[in-house]
């Protein structure tokens, strides 16, 4: 039911685990539905995602879509990362069974949540700097 690419990412997940010094973290999904994705990003001063990591509770497709999403945003700017669509993740994995499309949506949401968290942190940092 899964493509070779999906199985490859499931067996050999890229960028798996929490990364050091991350400045953006997003967690989406819920245990009730059986999928939780956590995405960590470290963005440098130029706004480029230097490093990315993920943790996932879920099925094979959930693991593969998170793994693929991390690959697709690594080295990209945060603006570019926000452009990542679930369809692009599915395409990169050479397809997903219809019932698993929601996993790719979750991967897209996880990236967006991590970027949002990064921007919030930056705004807070700026605010506290201004106060000083």
């Amino acid at each position: 039911m899964y493509t070779e690419k999906v199985l490859d990412h499931f067996q050999h997940p890229r960028n798996m685990g929490e990364i050091e010094g991350y400045n953006g973290m997003g967690m989406v999904g819920n245990a009730k539905c059986g999928d939780i994705m956590q995405m960590f990003i470290r963005v440098n001063d130029e706004g480029i995602i230097e490093d990315v990591g993920f943790k996932t509770f879920g099925c094979g497709a959930a693991v593969a879509t998170s793994s693929m999403a991390t690959e697709m945003i690594k080295g990209k700017s945060v603006d570019e990362a926000l452009q990542l669509s679930n369809a692009a993740v599915v395409e990169a994995l050479e397809g997903l069974p219809p019932v698993k499309i929601h996993c790719s949506v979750l991967a897209e949401e996880a990236v967006k949540a991590a970027v949002e968290d990064y921007r919030k942190r930056m705004a807070e940092k700026k605010e506290s700097e201004n106060k000083d």
Binding site: F10, M16, A31, K32, G34, I36, F57, C59, G60, A61
Partner: protein, 386 residues
């Protein structure tokens, strides 16, 4: 790669003796049992013999066995048949929350057609009590349908007690015994069972053939019309090779049944004992002792069932799970939820079902692979902080 098949509750291997018994009925003895000529009569005699074999296995008479296409048809025939035939007496049916969908969906269908169904809740082990059944009985109750043993967690229901109660109250009692036949001893007379469903491919017989036992005197109208086969109770030309295979398979399954069950229980209990010794934070699903000799079902906390299955499969081990991802819906197994498991823990269930050919080496291999799989997936899980 070493391959270990631990999904015998899904289906079993057709054993060579069964295939051997079936072969002539696919090639040389191909007559229609309804035909009066030699070819037909030879087939008819084989069907009669198989009917006797099936009857003998559960303490019934040959005339009480109706061959069907499998367990689902047997369940549908029994429940819809009784509902239709005895509607004037009442329209209330009692069942449990943990039945197979062949029973649950049939009950739901009847609910749309004016019947009332009581779904008895189960305890944490998946059991209902005879008192629960007694309290649910109403003057208009016509049928109690409760599975013999659960297909997911292997819990064995108090069937003789429920049978005795239903007999005393004059209410028909049907049991879906698809997972139990050929694995545990069944005597329909002793256990006061009025109707019983079974399926050949669960005990090393062929797929596409099953049977419904209906106690003499009970009228169950047919689900399928179109001929006088099965004494007007199920139309359609008999699946002769399937029927012959089922007869031989049930005969073989019941030979040394206790010995084979004891052997499987040793291996089952080794898994039940060793899994928590090797993997922290797991939960046994189902009853510790009142369970099928071949069923092991554990929830491995913080990880998800389909991932476990995929990774086991990559290591050559075939198992099953009650996770949503394997059911094609968003909800995990209705059985595990009815037993009070949280969604999260239900998603992490893995079922391993043995057969009498399962070896200790197979079990040791599972005990070597499963902890590694659990560790690897937990490392990946945002829920695990071990």
């Amino acid at each position: 790669m070493k391959r270990v098949y631990l999904d015998n509750a899904a289906t079993t291997k057709l054993i060579p003796e069964v295939l051997e018994a079936m072969m002539p009925y696919m090639t040389e003895i191909y007559g229609n049992p309804s035909s009066p000529h030699y070819f037909g009569q030879q087939s008819g005699m084989a069907v009669d013999k198989a009917r006797q074999q099936v009857a003998d296995a559960i303490g019934a008479e040959a005339g009480e066995i109706i061959f069907t296409s499998g367990g689902s048809e047997a369940d549908n025939t029994a429940i819809r048949g009784i509902a239709e035939r005895y509607a004037k007496k009442g329209k209330h049916i009692i069942t449990t929350a943990v039945e197979h969908h062949a029973v649950l969906h049939t009950c739901q269908y009847l609910e749309k057609h004016g019947y009332e169904v009581t779904y008895l809740p189960v305890d944490e082990y998946g059991l209902v009590t005879v008192d629960q059944v007694r309290e649910a009985i109403r003057p208009d109750t016509i049928l109690v349908t409760i599975m013999f043993a659960n297909n997911e967690v292997g819990t064995i229901m108090p069937i003789p007690e429920i049978g005795a109660l239903c007999r005393e109250k004059g209410i028909f009692f049907h049991t879906d015994a698809v997972q139990a036949v050929g694995h545990v001893r069944i005597d329909v007379k002793e256990m006061n069972i009025d109707m019983l469903s079974m399926s050949a491919h669960k005990f090393h017989g062929p797929k596409g053939i099953g049977a419904l036992y209906v106690r003499k005197g009970i009228i169950v109208p047919p689900l399928i019309y179109g001929g006088a086969q099965e004494r007007n109770r199920r139309a359609g030309t008999e699946n002769v090779p399937g029927i012959v295979g089922m007869g031989r398979a049930i005969e073989l399954a019941c030979e040394n049944l206790d010995e084979k069950a004891a052997k499987m229980m040793l291996l089952r209990d080794k898994l039940i004992r060793e899994i928590p010794a090797r993997i922290p934070e797991v939960k046994l699903n189902g009853h510790p002792t009142k369970r099928l000799p071949n069923n092991v079902n554990y929830s491995i906390k913080y990880i998800e069932g389909e991932s476990i299955l995929l990774m086991l499969d990559l290591n050559g081990i075939a198992a099953s799970s009650g996770s949503a991802c394997t059911s094609g819906s968003l909800d995990p197994s209705h059985v595990l939820l009815a037993m009070g498991l949280t969604h999260e823990v239900a998603h992490g269930s893995v079922r391993m079902t043995l057969c009498d050919e399962t070896t200790e080496e197979d079990i040791d291999y599972v005990l070597e692979v499963l902890p590694k799989v659990a560790e690897r997936l937990r490392k990946m899980s945002p829920l695990y902080h071990g």
